[in-house]
């Protein structure tokens, strides 16, 4: 059993926040959109304030329903998200959207065009749409997406729709973020074998055959059903839903499927196990990133970083030994005896 007192002792202090950022967080917790937008930027830019910001908003998170929308480029994700906003707004709750598009691997620039399909919501004060560039991160999301979703959650958005980049077969980051994952496909994009592959198809909670007015839609539905039949007894069998996002056809069915999945999650015993696994993966990723940043910083201070990179680049040192040397520098610096300079 987890000891509550011990966890409280571990919590990061929020005293690291400067006055300006603290004001932004207070405004965010009051539902202010401008503060929300500015704080998402800080998270995207990986500001030093991020740990303190997250420590402060975290108690106000965990209330939103996160729905991931993923699928190949051009399958109709943005148009479908636009339709889902309508459906979720009907209940009166505020809706947040995070739309991720790729950054150029060469220039780091990006064209983020998902808003084009969601224009009409720009003036609805209950809808907040933010475009995020991947900034080199693979996996279908940007590194900042998870924390951006937490900020939306803390700001009072009851439903958060997350549109991944156009995905191939293995961009499955969304599985550690969303409660419900919708995989969008369009007819004519592949044969039966594509439907048998592991990866993105396995993580979907709802399968959508969009552009269902096109030829081949029924065949695709049939193939997906056959694939699901082969999977045997499933605790949750993903429904296959036909939609035409352009006209809104099938959206009611999709919303109903989202609700049904949500209800199932609430009763499912797997939920708790899933949460534990997610938390473990997030922590492993976070500590890896933090340790890497600190180790590199320590190595730079010790004048070791250039030597190690040059050693690996010229093949005089293998990368595993170089990495071990980096961790050793970190251990020396962070040991209780103080930051003694390691001998190089």
């Amino acid at each position: 059993m987890v000891d509550d007192q011990r966890l409280t002792g571990l919590r990061a202090t929020t005293s690291g926040l400067d006055q300006r950022t603290n004001d932004l967080v207070e405004a965010l917790l009051d539902g202010d959109q401008l503060a929300l937008a500015r704080l998402i930027t800080l998270v995207e830019n990986r500001s030093q304030m991020v740990p303190a910001i997250l420590a402060k908003v975290f108690p106000s998170t965990g209330r939103a329903r996160l729905i991931g929308v993923t699928g190949a480029p051009g399958a109709g994700k943005s148009t479908l998200v636009d339709r889902l906003i309508s459906g979720c707004r009907d209940g009166g709750g505020r809706v947040g959207v995070l739309a991720i598009d790729p950054s150029s691997p060469y220039t780091g620039g990006a064209i983020l065009g998902d808003r084009v399909r969601m224009q009409k919501w720009a003036t609805d004060p209950g809808v907040f749409i933010r475009s995020l560039a991947t900034r080199g991160h693979l996996g279908g999301l940007s590194l900042a997406t998870r924390d951006a979703a937490r900020l939306l959650d803390a700001c009072g958005y009851k439903t958060i729709l997350i549109e991944t980049v156009g995905t191939g077969q293995s961009e499955v980051d969304i599985m550690d973020l969303a409660h419900t994952i919708i995989l969008v496909m369009a007819p004519g994009a592949g044969d039966e074998v594509q439907a048998q592959k592991a990866g993105i198809l396995e993580i979907a909670d709802i399968l959508v055959v969009n552009k269902a007015d096109r030829e081949g839609a029924n065949q695709l539905v049939g193939q997906l059903q056959a694939m699901l039949d082969l999977a045997g007894e499933l605790a949750w069998r993903p429904p296959v839903i036909k939609t035409v996002a352009g006209t809104g056809e099938g959206i009611e069915d999709l919303l109903a499927a989202c609700r049904a999945h949500q209800e199932w999650l609430g009763q499912s015993e797997r939920s708790e196990q899933r949460l534990l696994e997610r938390a473990g993966r997030e922590l492993a990723e976070l500590v890896g990133r933090m340790a890497a940043e600190r180790a590199i910083e320590a190595a730079r201070e010790a004048g070791l970083w250039e030597d190690l990179t040059a050693g690996v680049a010229t093949r005089r040192l293998d990368p595993y030994s170089a990495a071990a040397a980096l961790l050793a520098v970190l251990e020396v610096r962070e040991s209780p005896d103080g930051p003694a300079r390691p001998s190089v």
Binding site: T41, E44, Q119
Partner: protein
């Protein structure tokens, strides 16, 4: 890790988005994050998108002749929304005497036909008000 973010928008009713797309591409190639919102934006839509996307610069393309109506609504709207550190650039068929009036209304710079992409990229970078580091 800081990226310059730019909203490229086409307010008003003309459907000529080629220029806006070419500029968006050039800004992307210069390493900026460009939020492209498409055609027929109202001033209110532009202001809200600029707020939610937390952009440094709003770049407007207008070829309809309605710039004197649309642009002041956008610069005014940005001020009202508290976005005082967001700069506005305008590109299009803008007569000289209108250009100076737009600048008086809060536009940073106006680009007419024949402007080079280099000049537009440089002006975008120069008009960022928040620290780049």
């Amino acid at each position: 890790m800081r990226k310059i973010r730019v909203l490229v928008a086409k307010p008003g009713l003309d459907g000529h988005d080629r220029g806006a797309k070419v500029v968006a591409r050039a800004l992307r190639d210069a390493g900026m994050e460009v939020i492209y919102t498409g055609l027929h934006q109202t001033p209110q839509q532009v202001v809200r998108a600029a707020a939610q996307e937390d952009v440094d610069v709003v770049a407007l393309s207008i070829l309809s002749g309605a710039h004197m109506t649309l642009v002041p609504k956008i610069t005014g709207g940005l001020r009202e929304a508290g976005l005082l550190d967001v700069s506005v650039l305008v590109g299009g068929i803008i007569p000289d005497h209108d250009a100076s009036r737009l600048c008086a209304a809060g536009v940073r710079k106006v680009f007419g036909p024949g402007s080079t992409l280099e000049a537009i990229v440089a002006a975008t970078r120069d008009s960022v008000q928040r620290p780049l580091a």
